[in-house]
């Protein structure tokens, strides 16, 4: 699963994208939907939990927490940005 990072999420995670291997590591359960993905990423990068609004897109469409995610999906983390 490829996760593209935008705005401040790129700074928090420290790279423009993230890859979650399809086989589980450390016995950790892999996220099946967007809600689980939020928790999964929040554990690895606690700074993400502080964001009041963080849109997640699955294959370029805005997704709610119930949207299923699969290993071949392209995910994007999109926080609001403010500069002008």
């Amino acid at each position: 699963m490829t996760i593209l990072l935008f705005g401040v999420t790129k700074d928090i995670i420290g790279s423009p994208s993230l890859s979650i291997p399809s086989t589980h590591i450390n016995g950790r359960k892999l996220p099946k939907n967007v809600g689980e993905l939020r928790q999964f990423l929040g554990k690895a990068y606690p700074e993400l939990n502080k964001l009041s609004s963080l849109a997640i897109a699955v294959n370029n469409s805005y997704a709610d927490d119930k949207t299923e995610v699969n290993s071949y999906d392209e995910i994007a983390l999109i926080p609001p940005v403010s500069g002008g």
């Binding site: 849109a55 897109a57 999109i78 609001p80 940005v81 403010s82 500069g83 002008g84």
Partner: protein, 355 residues
């Protein structure tokens, strides 16, 4: 052809644009909120292309560190009002445009009154408080608004509240809190990036006004200047965000450029400041305080507004200047015209200077 329209010949010649679209532009009124990095290209292009009336709203002055991206302004104009300088130049660029100068910040108190006569609003601001306020005011009065925002080499563009389309809150329901996400270009910005994003906003304004092309509604464009990659994210309207009837009680913090900070040295030079408010805890206040200061701890500030005289300058102080800065931001939301100052460095700085 009507002689005054001959200057638009080259865009009228575009088959899918034509005289009809040009006449629609000439008949339109657009409000640009923020005359900084985004607002400058928006204003220049809309003015050149023949939008009939432009409202320019900002209360900021030109600073030297603005010039690398706000390319309408020059070094000789540092310190002058952005909207006044911009209006003078835009009038020369296109004398036919009716330009209204609004030298004020967009606040809860003036929001609805300001936008009501415009066809399209451009969000060219640089802070979340203003962006959420623009969204809410536009939803209440049913106005489309063209959004543009930046983070480093990245930009976002979308058209919100266009017909039945989604709003800013459909994408980002809750306003980020202070410190959560860099606000007000704290992160730095490469000069040309707002030029690109602002130009895309100008293009969307033209599409909304003329109906030419496909408006970027229900889609967020994310532009990456480093890779030259564009990405379109589709999203839907959440009906509850379209039903908003009134503005929120508070939009958190004030416009970035509003200077609420007063140097401790300048404070000490004042002749008996009448209203000094210490926003530290009662315990801290009892330990030491400025003679004549009134103690209103920051957490109870909102309930103690009746103890404050907003017609007299307000000097806010705390230990280091952090809490008083927050208090100043809080007060300016409800009283944007009051003279509110946060004493930089707080009691620490005052005691150091007094010894």
């Amino acid at each position: 052809m009507i002689p005054s329209l001959s200057k638009y010949q080259r865009q009228i010649n575009l088959e899918s644009f034509g005289l009809d679209s040009q006449l629609k532009l000439v008949d339109s009124q657009v409000l640009i909120i923020g005359l900084g990095g985004l607002g400058v290209p928006v204003a220049q292009y809309l003015n050149a292309m023949g939008v009939g009336a432009l409202g320019l709203m900002d209360n900021d002055t030109i600073a030297l560190h603005n010039l690398h991206r706000q390319v309408l302004y020059t070094e000789a104009e540092v310190g002058q009002s952005k909207v006044q300088v911009a209006a003078a130049k835009l009038r020369k660029q296109n004398p036919q445009t009716s330009i209204t100068v609004l030298p004020a910040y967009f606040t809860k108190d003036n929001a609805l009154e300001t936008i009501k006569d415009y066809d399209v609003i451009v969000d060219a601001s640089d802070n979340f408080a203003t962006r959420y306020l623009i969204n809410d005011a536009c939803v209440i009065l049913n106005k489309p608004f063209v959004y543009g925002a930046l983070h480093d080499f990245e930009g976002q563009v979308s058209v919100f509240n266009h017909n039945d389309g989604p709003t800013y809150r459909c994408l980002f329901p809750k306003m980020p809190q202070a410190e959560e996400i860099p606000n007000c270009d704290e992160n730095g910005v490469l000069g040309v990036i707002p030029g690109i994003i602002g130009s895309l906003q100008a293009l969307e304004v033209v599409k909304v006004l003329t109906g030419v092309g496909e408006v970027l509604s229900g889609k967020l464009l994310i532009y990456n200047g480093l890779s030259q990659e564009n990405r379109l994210i589709q999203f839907n309207a959440d009906p509850k965000n379209k039903r908003m009837q009134q503005l929120a009680n508070s939009y958190g913090y004030a416009p970035c450029s509003m200077d609420l900070n007063l140097d401790a040295t300048a404070f000490l030079a004042l002749d008996h400041p009448k209203q000094v408010i210490d926003v530290r805890s009662t315990e801290e206040f009892e330990e030491n305080h400025w003679e004549g200061a009134v103690n209103i701890p920051l957490p109870s500030l909102d309930e103690a507004l009746d103890q404050i005289d907003f017609k007299t300058p307000i000097y806010l102080v705390c230990q280091s200047g952090k809490r008083s800065a927050q208090a100043a931001q809080q007060l300016v939301q409800t009283h944007p015209d009051a003279k509110i100052y946060s004493i930089g460095g707080g009691m620490n700085q005052i005691s150091m200077l007094c010894h």
